[in-house]
């Protein structure tokens, strides 16, 4: 089966939203710990982060949100954030606190693969990554490799990026690990097309938008993605 990962920004409603996403069929939930300067994010997640910070979602509150979410769901939970938060909290201390609160792994968008090698995390690679870089990311990554389908930031796009196929092919030659595609995937059609090439998909910006309409809307949206992803042929490339 192909994997479906859903990204949500930490906030008061997030534990319930995560539960709804899992009911809709999410296999993994990524939890955004907001940062003041989210370079890798487009307008939707940037604004969600600004709102979350205004509501006081600092590191301690995000860890509590993670723990509260863990009490409701059993799927892997992966905090996604930026290095400045870990720099302030302490890299090891952050990893320990997140694991104690129920995190399965971590994603740090602006930490290059060769920085902080002791910090176990899911590594990201992009269409611009060299083979050497992809190989290193695969060697260091925690369980799966995050394929950024586009050059650019998070946010919905009109079409699935044509760069994804080549990136999957290059990564397949270098590693046997699962490859999940994210950035720019928002519709069930795009999710199906991406799942036909990669081993899973990550949906962020659109999920964050739908989450603003509450758990029921999110459950329904995630279910539509689930159905699309399951319709993708099992044997890829």
């Amino acid at each position: 089966m192909k994997t479906l990962a859903i990204y949500l920004m930490c906030g008061a409603a997030t534990p319930k939203l995560a539960e709804a996403a899992v009911e809709g069929g999410a296999d993994i939930v990524e939890l955004g710990f907001p940062f003041s300067d989210p370079l890798a994010d487009g307008p939707v997640i940037r604004r969600a982060g600004e709102r979350a910070l205004d509501e006081g979602m600092r590191t301690a509150a995000c860890l509590e949100c993670l723990a509260a979410t863990r009490r409701r769901v059993e799927v892997p939970l992966i905090p996604m954030t930026y290095a400045s938060l870990l720099e302030a909290y302490g890299y090891d201390r952050f990893a320990t606190a997140a694991a104690e609160a129920g995190a399965t792994s971590l994603i740090v968008a602006d930490l290059p693969v060769d920085a902080e090698p002791g910090l176990r995390r899911v590594q990201l690679v992009a269409p611009t990554s060299t083979d050497e870089r992809i190989a290193l990311a695969a060697e260091r990554t925690d369980g799966w490799l995050y394929l950024v389908t586009v050059t650019g930031t998070t946010g919905a796009r009109g079409d699935l990026s044509p760069a994804l196929r080549t990136l999957v092919e290059r990564a397949r030659d270098l590693t046997g690990l699962p490859l999940y595609a994210g950035f720019g995937i928002s519709t069930p059609e795009q999710a199906a097309a991406a799942a036909a090439i990669a081993d899973g998909v990550v949906v962020g910006s659109r999920a964050v938008e739908v989450a603003a309409d509450g758990p029921a809307a999110l459950r329904e949206y995630v279910a539509s993605l689930r159905e699309a992803v399951d319709s993708a042929p099992l044997v890829s490339s």
Binding site: S36, D37, R58, Y82, A83, E87, A88, V150, G152, T153
Partner: protein, 297 residues
């Protein structure tokens, strides 16, 4: 092209040559005071590149003449209307544009900040300041200065000046920050715009707003090499207030007939307090752009 009015041109010209070598014909840049934007727009006009400059909406008001200058030079100035609406957000937006259009676009960063290897590229291109200043002061005075002092925003004019004297252990190197943007004086380790350096961040690592009358110093980060020079003790960093900068601005104009930019006015203010006899100040730009800000105070 020196009419662009600041040291920013040294870097813009060098990076434009790099862009041409890379086969890129579209340039994006960020600007605070507008000086780097003007320098970038100028070299883009000269090289026939498309040019997009991101600028905080607040800075566009503070530095209106430079917005018009960039327009005349054929650049598109895109206002950045979220967050602090200053250099920090303009830099983020320029980087987002760059990573989206990286096939065709070179990011012409304006200071010795950003992801590697930008801090080194910018230092090398600005090192001409230190090289020439060293030669000139040896020719004029027959000895090295006792102190070399420069203002520090992102730190490019300072690192360029310091580069000429790093190996001269007897030359004191002093960087002057705006007190409200003292990334080195009041900062701690953090990661912003792709580099780890000393930043104005809170206990959670969230980046704080910087405040300075001078748009060019209004940045909560600083080039990582300055953090290194601070920690190694080779350079010292001090702060100057808005009022001190304004007073030196007026004093240099009245006593020397030179209208300095507000940024190096911070360095001038601290140079006046030094005990040494032979002090080399980097006058990184001229003050036409700041007249309305100064006269309105």
């Amino acid at each position: 092209m020196l009419h662009t009015g600041a040291h920013k041109l040294n870097n813009a010209l060098g990076q434009a040559l790099l862009a041409r070598r890379l086969g890129k014909r579209r340039i994006v840049a960020e600007t605070g005071a507008g000086q780097h934007g003007v320098a970038t727009a100028t070299v883009c006009a000269r090289f026939g590149f498309e040019c997009v400059v991101y600028m905080g909406a607040e800075d566009m008001i503070r530095q209106a003449p430079n917005v018009e200058r960039m327009g005349l030079l054929g650049a598109e100035v895109r206002p950045v209307e979220f967050g602090t609406q200053t250099l920090k957000e303009a830099t983020s937006e320029a980087i987002r544009d760059w990573i989206t259009n990286v096939e065709t676009t070179h990011y012409l960063i304006g200071s010795c900040v950003g992801p590697a290897p930008y801090p080194e590229i910018v230092r090398e291109l600005q090192a001409v300041i230190g090289r020439e200043a060293r030669e000139q002061i040896l020719a004029a005075e027959g000895r090295l200065p006792e102190v070399a002092i420069a203002c520090v925003g992102g730190g490019s004019n300072a690192i360029g000046l310091f580069a000429g004297f790093l190996d001269d252990a007897e030359v004191r190197l002093v960087g002057v920050e705006a007190v409200g943007a003292a990334s080195l004086g009041a900062g701690r380790a953090g990661v912003l715009h792709g580099s780890r350096s000393s930043l104005l961040v809170d206990d959670d690592g969230q980046v704080l707003d910087a405040h300075s009358i001078s748009a060019g110093l209004d940045y909560p980060g600083v080039g990582p090499e300055h953090a290194f020079l601070r920690d190694s003790g080779r350079a010292e960093y001090v702060g100057a207030s808005d009022e001190e900068a304004l007073a030196s601005f007026r004093r240099l104009a009245a006593t020397e007939g030179i209208i300095p930019a507000l940024e190096p006015s911070h360095a001038l203010a601290k140079a006046l307090e030094l005990q040494e006899d032979l002090v080399l100040v980097c006058l990184s730009g001229r003050g036409d752009k700041d007249l309305s800000a100064v006269l309105s105070r």
